[in-house]
Symmetry: D2
């Protein structure tokens, strides 16, 4: 896992969007990656909550990197598609996106993701994702 | 349509994320909204292309505002869920997100969206979305 | 729960498609419903495995009835949309579809579903679903 | 196209589910396939309309065969996933499912589908699908 952790850390650091959003990589485990996004007005939709697009961006990255932990070493991953349901408004101090591999084949990896809004010690799941990721030879 | 154009222009301006991404509202028509996103390294994924999350954010907003053009005047809209397929890498000088209403009921509006990458005079569809938006009394 | 179990049993019996497919209701619990589908050549795709459409039909019903266990008593439920990933070919003697409520609001319920292929004592998850169900006054 | 039409006609005839539902293949064109499903009480949900699962089954097959018209000759196709929105109750004498290729790569084909309910001369779109199909060497 050390190689893949380093590889994901370097890849995450190369994602301009994650820096622009203020997201940071929290953990990389075999088949599971967590990314945190602190609240910022810079991420808001029109009511001041965090925009669905920002929430989606971090859980998409979490799913993609979770898939990468299961990919053959000579491969990179590309998101083919995902679907996300928003369960509650994105209100919180922090948002934790968790991507988990549900099945990994030679070619395709299917992940589920969730995003939790954190305020003090309260965690609420605000979004769930189902994503298909493709292994591509790099 | 003048009222709804003003309302959408004001709402778009209140979305911190759209300013953070550098997106701007291009057009508002009955059942169709267009948003443009110029390329920026600040939006990149690890290979320097635009991150799927940024592409998703603008077409989500385009679909949401397209739905708003069909909503009862006393309602706001909230994205319940969407699904997006990425057809090609997001390579281009500009990206044009188009959200269109396919069906609007009292409660739910279903939209399709697409994102075109523009380089010079070349347009290529790089992503397609299918979204469900809820009318909520404001 | 007795009322809702009776109501779901009666509703399931009124679904012509479930009889046509040979599916039967296995269990109804608060927020979770299970439906079983025995293998039949009448359900096949071109290679003799069970068609994705038959698998989808039973897990759609399982999610819908799971949502109904959380709906207000004066409401019925209608599937607004779902997304399903097929993880493996549908090969097995029996298929067990499980629908679970992830979140239920006044208007919308979000469920996840899975389908397991059963051969002897082996269970394999072959499909996962994410569904949005609407409460409608009956 | 003659080869692919014959191949799809033979494959459709081998799908037990299509016969069980009473569906028949209407047309095969390059990138577009149409399947018709006559109303039957055997396909109903609890209110007597056609079950979402039957509607989904035919448009899934239409999208899969549309993808097959674009696949390399040595490949078969497998549905990786799809998402479907139901716009109106499935009320009609006939249902016409249309699958169209939006983009086809070496490995993945993305299709959109729609289902129209037909009563006399009235056509209404009742469902729209977005699907990802994989080319697999046969």
């Amino acid at each position: 896992m050390n190689d893949i952790q380093e590889r994901i850390t370097a890849s995450f650091a190369a994602q301009g969007l994650m820096a622009t959003l203020g997201a940071h990589l929290v953990s990389v485990a075999d088949g599971e990656v967590q990314i945190e996004l602190p609240f910022s007005e810079r991420l808001s939709q029109q009511h001041g909550y965090v925009h669905a697009g920002a929430i989606t961006s971090v859980v998409d990255s979490a799913c993609g990197y979770a898939a990468l932990t299961k990919a053959p070493p000579e491969c990179e991953v590309v998101t083919a598609e995902f679907k996300i349901n928003f369960l509650r408004p994105a209100i919180g101090e922090q948002f934790l996106a968790i991507g988990k591999v549900q099945n990994s084949g030679k070619l395709l990896t299917v992940c589920t993701g969730e995003v939790r809004a954190i305020s003090g010690t309260t965690h609420k799941v605000i979004a769930i994702m189902q994503a298909t990721i493709v292994n591509v030879r790099s």
